[in-house]
Symmetry: C2
DNA sequence: GTGGCCAATGTGAATAATCGCGCATCCTGA
DNA sequence: TCAGGATGCGCGATTATTCACATTGGCCAC
Protein backbone atom coordinates (compact mmCIF):
# COMPACT_ATOMS: atom_id res chain seq x y z
CA UNK A 1 0.00 0.00 0.00
CA UNK A 2 2.69 2.45 0.96
CA UNK A 3 4.01 3.84 -2.24
CA UNK A 4 5.67 6.85 -0.77
CA UNK A 5 9.02 6.52 -2.41
CA UNK A 6 10.65 9.32 -0.62
CA UNK A 7 10.78 12.19 -3.02
CA UNK A 8 12.46 13.71 -0.08
CA UNK A 9 12.37 17.37 -0.75
CA UNK A 10 8.76 18.25 -1.39
CA UNK A 11 5.72 16.73 0.26
CA UNK A 12 3.98 16.61 -3.09
CA UNK A 13 0.31 16.02 -2.58
CA UNK A 14 -0.52 13.01 -4.69
CA UNK A 15 -3.22 13.13 -7.31
CA UNK A 16 -5.40 10.85 -5.22
CA UNK A 17 -5.17 13.26 -2.34
CA UNK A 18 -6.00 16.24 -4.47
CA UNK A 19 -9.00 14.36 -5.78
CA UNK A 20 -10.10 13.68 -2.23
CA UNK A 21 -9.84 17.33 -1.29
CA UNK A 22 -11.76 18.53 -4.31
CA UNK A 23 -14.42 15.87 -3.89
CA UNK A 24 -14.75 16.63 -0.18
CA UNK A 25 -15.51 20.27 -0.85
CA UNK A 26 -17.98 19.50 -3.59
CA UNK A 27 -19.81 16.71 -1.76
CA UNK A 28 -20.05 18.98 1.26
CA UNK A 29 -21.41 21.83 -0.79
CA UNK A 30 -23.84 20.14 -3.16
CA UNK A 31 -24.39 16.70 -1.74
CA UNK A 32 -23.69 13.35 -3.34
CA UNK A 33 -25.92 13.22 -6.39
CA UNK A 34 -25.63 16.88 -7.30
CA UNK A 35 -21.85 16.58 -7.44
CA UNK A 36 -20.55 15.61 -10.85
CA UNK A 37 -17.28 13.81 -11.36
CA UNK A 38 -16.52 16.21 -14.16
CA UNK A 39 -16.51 19.09 -11.73
CA UNK A 40 -14.25 17.18 -9.37
CA UNK A 41 -11.86 16.47 -12.20
CA UNK A 42 -11.92 20.10 -13.27
CA UNK A 43 -10.79 21.24 -9.85
CA UNK A 44 -7.94 18.77 -9.86
CA UNK A 45 -6.99 19.71 -13.38
CA UNK A 46 -7.53 16.34 -15.04
CA UNK A 47 -10.24 14.69 -17.13
CA UNK A 48 -12.97 12.78 -15.44
CA UNK A 49 -12.00 9.28 -16.70
CA UNK A 50 -8.67 9.75 -14.95
CA UNK A 51 -10.48 9.60 -11.64
CA UNK A 52 -11.01 5.90 -12.22
CA UNK A 53 -7.29 5.33 -11.99
CA UNK A 54 -7.57 6.19 -8.29
CA UNK A 55 -11.09 5.25 -7.22
CA UNK A 56 -13.34 2.46 -8.34
CA UNK A 57 -16.36 4.67 -8.91
CA UNK A 58 -18.23 7.66 -7.53
CA UNK A 59 -19.56 5.81 -4.52
CA UNK A 60 -16.08 4.60 -3.58
CA UNK A 61 -14.79 8.15 -3.84
CA UNK A 62 -17.50 9.31 -1.48
CA UNK A 63 -16.67 6.58 0.98
CA UNK A 64 -13.01 7.50 0.88
CA UNK A 65 -13.85 11.15 1.54
CA UNK A 66 -16.04 10.11 4.43
CA UNK A 67 -13.41 7.82 5.89
CA UNK A 68 -10.80 10.53 5.85
CA UNK A 69 -13.10 13.01 7.57
CA UNK A 70 -14.19 10.56 10.22
CA UNK A 71 -10.61 9.68 11.03
CA UNK A 72 -9.68 13.31 11.49
CA UNK A 73 -12.58 13.87 13.82
CA UNK A 74 -12.37 10.66 15.75
CA UNK A 75 -8.81 11.06 16.92
CA UNK A 76 -9.18 14.12 19.18
CA UNK A 77 -12.50 12.93 20.50
CA UNK A 78 -11.17 9.50 21.37
CA UNK A 79 -8.90 11.05 23.99
CA UNK A 80 -11.83 12.65 25.70
CA UNK A 81 -13.72 9.42 25.94
CA UNK A 82 -11.40 8.11 28.62
CA UNK A 83 -11.81 9.01 32.22
CA UNK A 84 -14.79 10.17 34.22
CA UNK A 85 -17.37 12.47 32.78
CA UNK A 86 -17.74 15.65 34.74
CA UNK A 87 -18.45 19.27 34.08
CA UNK A 88 -14.94 20.11 33.04
CA UNK A 89 -14.80 17.23 30.62
CA UNK A 90 -18.02 18.36 29.04
CA UNK A 91 -16.60 21.82 28.51
CA UNK A 92 -13.47 20.36 26.99
CA UNK A 93 -15.43 18.07 24.76
CA UNK A 94 -17.65 20.89 23.56
CA UNK A 95 -14.75 23.21 22.87
CA UNK A 96 -12.99 20.46 20.97
CA UNK A 97 -15.82 19.76 18.60
CA UNK A 98 -16.47 23.45 18.09
CA UNK A 99 -12.87 23.99 17.06
CA UNK A 100 -12.88 20.87 14.92
CA UNK A 101 -15.96 21.84 12.97
CA UNK A 102 -14.66 25.36 12.66
CA UNK A 103 -11.35 24.14 11.27
CA UNK A 104 -13.06 21.89 8.74
CA UNK A 105 -16.78 22.40 8.23
CA UNK A 106 -17.07 19.69 5.62
CA UNK A 107 -17.98 16.80 7.88
CA UNK A 108 -20.89 18.70 9.34
CA UNK A 109 -22.05 19.60 5.88
CA UNK A 110 -21.77 16.05 4.62
CA UNK A 111 -23.65 14.89 7.66
CA UNK A 112 -26.36 17.42 7.07
CA UNK A 113 -26.81 16.35 3.48
CA UNK A 114 -27.03 12.74 4.55
CA UNK A 115 -29.57 13.54 7.23
CA UNK A 116 -31.73 15.52 4.85
CA UNK A 117 -31.95 12.93 2.12
CA UNK A 118 -31.91 10.06 4.56
CA UNK A 119 -30.01 7.91 2.13
CA UNK A 120 -28.02 4.80 2.89
CA UNK A 121 -25.07 6.90 4.03
CA UNK A 122 -26.94 8.04 7.08
CA UNK A 123 -26.78 4.97 9.26
CA UNK A 124 -23.05 4.57 9.05
CA UNK A 125 -22.53 8.17 9.99
CA UNK A 126 -24.62 8.12 13.12
CA UNK A 127 -22.98 4.92 14.25
CA UNK A 128 -19.50 6.28 13.87
CA UNK A 129 -20.06 9.76 15.22
CA UNK A 130 -22.89 9.83 17.67
CA UNK A 131 -23.23 6.45 19.23
CA UNK A 132 -20.35 7.06 21.65
CA UNK A 133 -22.10 10.05 23.10
CA UNK A 134 -25.16 8.11 23.99
CA UNK A 135 -23.51 5.14 25.56
CA UNK A 136 -24.35 4.46 29.20
CA UNK A 137 -20.87 5.42 30.35
CA UNK A 138 -21.34 8.93 29.04
CA UNK A 139 -23.96 9.93 31.57
CA UNK A 140 -23.13 12.71 33.97
CA UNK A 141 -23.87 11.48 37.44
CA UNK A 142 -23.41 14.60 39.46
CA UNK A 143 -26.27 16.40 40.98
CA UNK A 144 -25.63 19.56 39.06
CA UNK A 145 -27.92 18.73 36.23
CA UNK A 146 -30.36 16.58 38.10
CA UNK A 147 -33.04 18.54 36.35
CA UNK A 148 -32.11 17.21 32.96
CA UNK A 149 -31.56 13.76 34.33
CA UNK A 150 -34.83 13.52 36.14
CA UNK A 151 -36.81 14.74 33.19
CA UNK A 152 -35.08 12.40 30.78
CA UNK A 153 -33.87 15.36 28.81
CA UNK A 154 -30.18 14.61 28.99
CA UNK A 155 -29.80 12.79 25.68
CA UNK A 156 -31.89 15.52 24.14
CA UNK A 157 -29.57 18.10 25.57
CA UNK A 158 -26.55 16.31 24.15
CA UNK A 159 -28.23 16.26 20.80
CA UNK A 160 -29.17 19.90 21.13
CA UNK A 161 -25.65 21.08 21.81
CA UNK A 162 -24.39 18.98 18.99
CA UNK A 163 -26.92 20.47 16.63
CA UNK A 164 -25.96 23.89 17.88
CA UNK A 165 -22.37 23.38 16.87
CA UNK A 166 -23.08 21.70 13.58
CA UNK A 167 -25.83 24.04 12.48
CA UNK A 168 -23.53 26.98 13.08
CA UNK A 169 -21.30 25.51 10.43
CA UNK A 170 -24.02 24.52 8.00
CA UNK A 171 -26.08 27.70 8.32
CA UNK A 172 -23.39 30.28 8.91
CA UNK A 173 -23.17 31.36 5.28
CA UNK A 174 -26.69 32.72 5.60
CA UNK A 175 -25.70 34.89 8.52
CA UNK A 176 -22.65 36.41 6.92
CA UNK A 177 -24.49 39.61 6.17
CA UNK A 178 -26.67 39.64 9.24
CA UNK A 179 -23.80 39.27 11.67
CA UNK A 180 -21.58 41.60 9.74
CA UNK A 181 -18.52 39.41 9.75
CA UNK A 182 -17.07 36.26 8.32
CA UNK A 183 -18.50 33.37 10.34
CA UNK A 184 -15.25 31.48 10.05
CA UNK A 185 -12.94 34.23 11.19
CA UNK A 186 -10.96 33.91 14.37
CA UNK A 187 -13.15 36.46 16.16
CA UNK A 188 -16.28 34.66 15.10
CA UNK A 189 -14.92 31.43 16.51
CA UNK A 190 -14.26 33.12 19.83
CA UNK A 191 -17.74 34.56 19.94
CA UNK A 192 -19.28 31.24 19.04
CA UNK A 193 -17.25 29.54 21.76
CA UNK A 194 -18.24 32.22 24.22
CA UNK A 195 -21.91 31.82 23.48
CA UNK A 196 -21.93 28.06 23.66
CA UNK A 197 -19.96 28.01 26.88
CA UNK A 198 -22.32 30.57 28.32
CA UNK A 199 -25.25 28.41 27.36
CA UNK A 200 -23.70 25.34 28.87
CA UNK A 201 -22.78 27.18 32.01
CA UNK A 202 -26.32 28.46 32.28
CA UNK A 203 -27.63 24.92 32.01
CA UNK A 204 -25.28 23.73 34.72
CA UNK A 205 -26.25 26.51 37.08
CA UNK A 206 -29.93 26.35 36.32
CA UNK A 207 -31.87 24.78 39.15
CA UNK A 208 -35.45 25.78 38.49
CA UNK A 209 -38.20 23.79 36.92
CA UNK A 210 -38.91 24.14 33.24
CA UNK A 211 -41.52 26.77 32.55
CA UNK A 212 -44.94 25.21 32.34
CA UNK A 213 -47.14 25.67 29.33
CA UNK B 1 -59.83 8.28 -15.81
CA UNK B 2 -62.44 10.78 -14.75
CA UNK B 3 -61.56 14.24 -13.64
CA UNK B 4 -63.35 16.28 -11.04
CA UNK B 5 -67.06 16.29 -11.78
CA UNK B 6 -67.91 18.53 -8.88
CA UNK B 7 -66.58 21.91 -9.72
CA UNK B 8 -67.61 24.40 -7.12
CA UNK B 9 -68.85 22.63 -4.03
CA UNK B 10 -65.88 20.54 -2.99
CA UNK B 11 -62.48 22.16 -2.73
CA UNK B 12 -60.85 19.45 -4.79
CA UNK B 13 -57.12 19.97 -4.67
CA UNK B 14 -56.19 21.21 -8.10
CA UNK B 15 -53.41 19.64 -10.11
CA UNK B 16 -51.23 22.68 -9.57
CA UNK B 17 -51.61 22.30 -5.84
CA UNK B 18 -50.80 18.62 -5.92
CA UNK B 19 -47.71 19.44 -7.95
CA UNK B 20 -46.70 21.99 -5.34
CA UNK B 21 -47.07 19.49 -2.54
CA UNK B 22 -45.09 16.80 -4.30
CA UNK B 23 -42.39 19.23 -5.34
CA UNK B 24 -42.17 20.67 -1.84
CA UNK B 25 -41.47 17.28 -0.33
CA UNK B 26 -38.93 16.38 -2.95
CA UNK B 27 -37.09 19.69 -2.94
CA UNK B 28 -36.97 19.53 0.85
CA UNK B 29 -35.60 16.02 0.80
CA UNK B 30 -33.10 16.07 -2.04
CA UNK B 31 -32.51 19.71 -2.78
CA UNK B 32 -33.10 21.58 -5.99
CA UNK B 33 -30.79 19.98 -8.52
CA UNK B 34 -31.13 16.44 -7.24
CA UNK B 35 -34.89 16.59 -7.64
CA UNK B 36 -36.07 15.48 -11.07
CA UNK B 37 -39.28 16.71 -12.61
CA UNK B 38 -40.03 13.16 -13.62
CA UNK B 39 -40.17 12.16 -9.99
CA UNK B 40 -42.44 15.07 -9.18
CA UNK B 41 -44.73 14.09 -12.02
CA UNK B 42 -44.76 10.48 -10.89
CA UNK B 43 -46.01 11.46 -7.44
CA UNK B 44 -48.79 13.53 -8.94
CA UNK B 45 -49.67 10.79 -11.38
CA UNK B 46 -48.99 12.67 -14.61
CA UNK B 47 -46.17 12.84 -17.15
CA UNK B 48 -43.44 15.36 -16.72
CA UNK B 49 -44.30 17.55 -19.74
CA UNK B 50 -47.68 18.18 -18.16
CA UNK B 51 -45.95 20.12 -15.43
CA UNK B 52 -45.30 22.86 -17.94
CA UNK B 53 -49.01 23.51 -18.19
CA UNK B 54 -48.88 24.83 -14.63
CA UNK B 55 -45.36 26.19 -14.15
CA UNK B 56 -43.02 27.85 -16.57
CA UNK B 57 -40.05 25.68 -15.69
CA UNK B 58 -38.30 23.97 -12.81
CA UNK B 59 -37.02 27.19 -11.32
CA UNK B 60 -40.50 28.73 -11.33
CA UNK B 61 -41.85 25.64 -9.62
CA UNK B 62 -39.22 25.99 -6.92
CA UNK B 63 -40.06 29.65 -6.45
CA UNK B 64 -43.74 28.83 -6.13
CA UNK B 65 -43.00 26.18 -3.53
CA UNK B 66 -40.87 28.66 -1.62
CA UNK B 67 -43.49 31.37 -1.81
CA UNK B 68 -46.16 29.11 -0.37
CA UNK B 69 -43.94 28.03 2.49
CA UNK B 70 -42.88 31.55 3.34
CA UNK B 71 -46.47 32.72 3.40
CA UNK B 72 -47.46 29.99 5.79
CA UNK B 73 -44.65 30.85 8.12
CA UNK B 74 -44.86 34.59 7.91
CA UNK B 75 -48.45 34.89 9.00
CA UNK B 76 -48.18 33.64 12.59
CA UNK B 77 -44.87 35.39 13.11
CA UNK B 78 -46.21 38.71 11.89
CA UNK B 79 -48.56 38.88 14.85
CA UNK B 80 -45.69 38.54 17.25
CA UNK B 81 -43.78 41.38 15.69
CA UNK B 82 -46.17 43.93 17.14
CA UNK B 83 -45.84 45.19 20.66
CA UNK B 84 -42.92 45.39 23.02
CA UNK B 85 -40.31 42.69 23.18
CA UNK B 86 -40.02 41.16 26.60
CA UNK B 87 -39.33 37.78 28.09
CA UNK B 88 -42.83 36.50 27.62
CA UNK B 89 -42.88 37.51 23.99
CA UNK B 90 -39.62 35.71 23.39
CA UNK B 91 -41.07 32.54 24.86
CA UNK B 92 -44.15 32.88 22.71
CA UNK B 93 -42.11 33.53 19.62
CA UNK B 94 -39.89 30.54 20.28
CA UNK B 95 -42.80 28.22 20.94
CA UNK B 96 -44.50 29.42 17.77
CA UNK B 97 -41.59 28.68 15.49
CA UNK B 98 -40.98 25.34 17.16
CA UNK B 99 -44.57 24.30 16.52
CA UNK B 100 -44.47 25.67 13.00
CA UNK B 101 -41.37 23.76 12.01
CA UNK B 102 -42.71 20.69 13.70
CA UNK B 103 -45.97 20.91 11.77
CA UNK B 104 -44.16 21.35 8.47
CA UNK B 105 -40.44 20.63 8.44
CA UNK B 106 -40.06 21.40 4.77
CA UNK B 107 -39.16 25.07 5.05
CA UNK B 108 -36.31 24.32 7.40
CA UNK B 109 -35.08 21.62 5.08
CA UNK B 110 -35.29 23.86 2.03
CA UNK B 111 -33.47 26.53 3.95
CA UNK B 112 -30.76 24.12 4.95
CA UNK B 113 -30.23 22.99 1.39
CA UNK B 114 -29.99 26.58 0.26
CA UNK B 115 -27.52 27.45 2.99
CA UNK B 116 -25.32 24.49 2.20
CA UNK B 117 -25.03 25.08 -1.50
CA UNK B 118 -25.06 28.83 -1.06
CA UNK B 119 -26.88 29.28 -4.33
CA UNK B 120 -28.82 32.29 -5.49
CA UNK B 121 -31.83 31.17 -3.46
CA UNK B 122 -30.06 31.95 -0.23
CA UNK B 123 -30.23 35.69 -0.17
CA UNK B 124 -33.96 35.91 -0.72
CA UNK B 125 -34.54 33.45 2.07
CA UNK B 126 -32.56 35.27 4.69
CA UNK B 127 -34.19 38.53 3.78
CA UNK B 128 -37.68 37.16 4.12
CA UNK B 129 -37.20 35.04 7.20
CA UNK B 130 -34.43 36.37 9.35
CA UNK B 131 -34.08 40.06 8.76
CA UNK B 132 -37.04 40.90 11.01
CA UNK B 133 -35.34 39.24 13.94
CA UNK B 134 -32.28 41.37 13.66
CA UNK B 135 -33.95 44.71 13.24
CA UNK B 136 -33.18 47.34 15.87
CA UNK B 137 -36.70 47.16 17.27
CA UNK B 138 -36.23 43.53 18.19
CA UNK B 139 -33.70 44.15 20.93
CA UNK B 140 -34.61 43.19 24.44
CA UNK B 141 -33.94 46.19 26.64
CA UNK B 142 -34.50 44.73 30.05
CA UNK B 143 -31.69 44.09 32.40
CA UNK B 144 -32.34 40.39 32.54
CA UNK B 145 -29.97 39.52 29.80
CA UNK B 146 -27.56 42.37 30.21
CA UNK B 147 -24.85 39.81 29.93
CA UNK B 148 -25.66 38.98 26.35
CA UNK B 149 -26.24 42.59 25.53
CA UNK B 150 -23.00 43.85 26.97
CA UNK B 151 -20.95 41.19 25.27
CA UNK B 152 -22.62 41.74 21.92
CA UNK B 153 -23.80 38.17 21.93
CA UNK B 154 -27.49 38.85 21.56
CA UNK B 155 -27.77 38.47 17.78
CA UNK B 156 -25.66 35.38 18.10
CA UNK B 157 -28.03 34.04 20.68
CA UNK B 158 -30.99 34.70 18.42
CA UNK B 159 -29.22 32.86 15.67
CA UNK B 160 -28.33 30.04 18.01
CA UNK B 161 -31.87 29.43 19.16
CA UNK B 162 -33.04 29.56 15.60
CA UNK B 163 -30.47 27.02 14.56
CA UNK B 164 -31.49 24.90 17.50
CA UNK B 165 -35.05 24.73 16.28
CA UNK B 166 -34.25 24.25 12.63
CA UNK B 167 -31.50 21.72 13.12
CA UNK B 168 -33.84 19.63 15.21
CA UNK B 169 -35.99 19.33 12.13
CA UNK B 170 -33.19 18.78 9.65
CA UNK B 171 -31.21 16.34 11.75
CA UNK B 172 -33.93 14.55 13.62
CA UNK B 173 -34.12 11.63 11.21
CA UNK B 174 -30.64 10.64 12.31
CA UNK B 175 -31.68 10.50 15.93
CA UNK B 176 -34.72 8.33 15.39
CA UNK B 177 -32.87 5.29 16.60
CA UNK B 178 -30.76 7.01 19.21
CA UNK B 179 -33.67 8.66 20.95
CA UNK B 180 -35.87 5.64 20.60
CA UNK B 181 -38.92 7.46 19.32
CA UNK B 182 -40.33 9.24 16.33
CA UNK B 183 -38.89 12.77 16.39
CA UNK B 184 -42.13 14.15 15.00
CA UNK B 185 -44.48 12.53 17.45
CA UNK B 186 -46.53 14.58 19.85
CA UNK B 187 -44.42 13.49 22.82
CA UNK B 188 -41.24 14.38 21.01
CA UNK B 189 -42.61 17.84 20.32
CA UNK B 190 -43.35 18.32 24.01
CA UNK B 191 -39.88 17.20 24.99
CA UNK B 192 -38.30 19.45 22.41
CA UNK B 193 -40.36 22.37 23.66
CA UNK B 194 -39.45 21.54 27.20
CA UNK B 195 -35.77 21.47 26.48
CA UNK B 196 -35.70 24.69 24.51
CA UNK B 197 -37.75 26.53 27.09
CA UNK B 198 -35.46 25.24 29.78
CA UNK B 199 -32.48 26.50 27.85
CA UNK B 200 -34.02 29.88 27.32
CA UNK B 201 -35.04 30.12 30.95
CA UNK B 202 -31.53 29.24 31.96
CA UNK B 203 -30.18 32.01 29.78
CA UNK B 204 -32.56 34.53 31.30
CA UNK B 205 -31.68 33.55 34.82
CA UNK B 206 -27.98 33.29 34.20
CA UNK B 207 -26.13 36.22 35.67
CA UNK B 208 -22.55 35.07 35.81
CA UNK B 209 -19.72 35.86 33.47
CA UNK B 210 -18.95 33.48 30.64
CA UNK B 211 -16.32 30.95 31.60
CA UNK B 212 -12.94 32.20 30.61
CA UNK B 213 -10.61 30.12 28.53
C1' DG C 1 -81.22 20.18 -26.71
C1' DT C 2 -77.47 20.27 -30.17
C1' DG C 3 -73.80 21.49 -32.67
C1' DG C 4 -69.61 23.82 -32.72
C1' DC C 5 -65.89 26.45 -30.66
C1' DC C 6 -62.27 27.42 -27.39
C1' DA C 7 -59.26 27.20 -23.61
C1' DA C 8 -57.35 24.14 -20.38
C1' DT C 9 -54.91 20.11 -19.66
C1' DG C 10 -52.99 15.85 -20.69
C1' DT C 11 -49.76 12.96 -23.84
C1' DG C 12 -45.78 10.76 -26.72
C1' DA C 13 -42.00 11.77 -29.35
C1' DA C 14 -37.95 14.27 -30.01
C1' DT C 15 -33.82 17.23 -28.67
C1' DA C 16 -29.76 18.81 -26.58
C1' DA C 17 -27.17 18.59 -22.59
C1' DT C 18 -25.11 16.11 -18.94
C1' DC C 19 -24.06 12.18 -16.28
C1' DG C 20 -21.30 7.86 -14.72
C1' DC C 21 -18.41 4.76 -16.67
C1' DG C 22 -15.63 1.43 -19.86
C1' DC C 23 -12.04 0.98 -23.22
C1' DA C 24 -8.25 1.43 -26.26
C1' DT C 25 -4.43 4.22 -26.59
C1' DC C 26 -0.73 7.20 -25.63
C1' DC C 27 2.66 9.57 -22.82
C1' DT C 28 6.28 9.56 -19.55
C1' DG C 29 9.66 8.59 -16.11
C1' DA C 30 12.49 5.03 -13.97
C1' DT D 1 10.98 -1.70 -21.63
C1' DC D 2 7.40 -1.43 -18.76
C1' DA D 3 3.81 0.08 -15.73
C1' DG D 4 1.08 3.85 -13.80
C1' DG D 5 -1.52 7.38 -15.08
C1' DA D 6 -3.69 10.63 -18.21
C1' DT D 7 -6.61 10.98 -22.32
C1' DG D 8 -10.16 10.84 -26.28
C1' DC D 9 -13.91 8.55 -27.69
C1' DG D 10 -18.14 6.79 -27.04
C1' DC D 11 -22.02 4.14 -24.96
C1' DG D 12 -26.32 4.11 -22.35
C1' DA D 13 -29.02 6.41 -19.10
C1' DT D 14 -31.16 10.54 -17.29
C1' DT D 15 -32.20 15.32 -17.44
C1' DA D 16 -35.03 19.68 -18.60
C1' DT D 17 -37.51 21.39 -22.15
C1' DT D 18 -40.22 21.87 -26.62
C1' DC D 19 -43.80 20.73 -29.73
C1' DA D 20 -47.48 18.78 -32.29
C1' DC D 21 -51.40 16.49 -31.04
C1' DA D 22 -55.50 14.24 -28.56
C1' DT D 23 -59.02 14.87 -25.30
C1' DT D 24 -61.81 17.20 -22.38
C1' DG D 25 -65.34 20.51 -20.27
C1' DG D 26 -67.77 24.65 -20.38
C1' DC D 27 -70.10 28.12 -23.06
C1' DC D 28 -72.76 30.28 -26.64
C1' DA D 29 -75.72 30.58 -30.86
C1' DC D 30 -79.42 28.46 -32.71
Amino acid sequence: MGMENQAVTSEQTSTAERILEAAEDLFAEKGYSATSLGEVADRVGIRSPSLYNHFKNKEALYQAVLERLLEDFSAPLAELEKGPVNKERVFEWLETIVRQHHANPNLARLLQHAALSGGPHTNELIDRLFSPMFQPGAVIEEGDISLLESTGLQPWAVMAFNNLVMSYVTMAPMYRDLLGQDPFSEEALEKQLNLIKTLLQAVFEYKGAPPGG
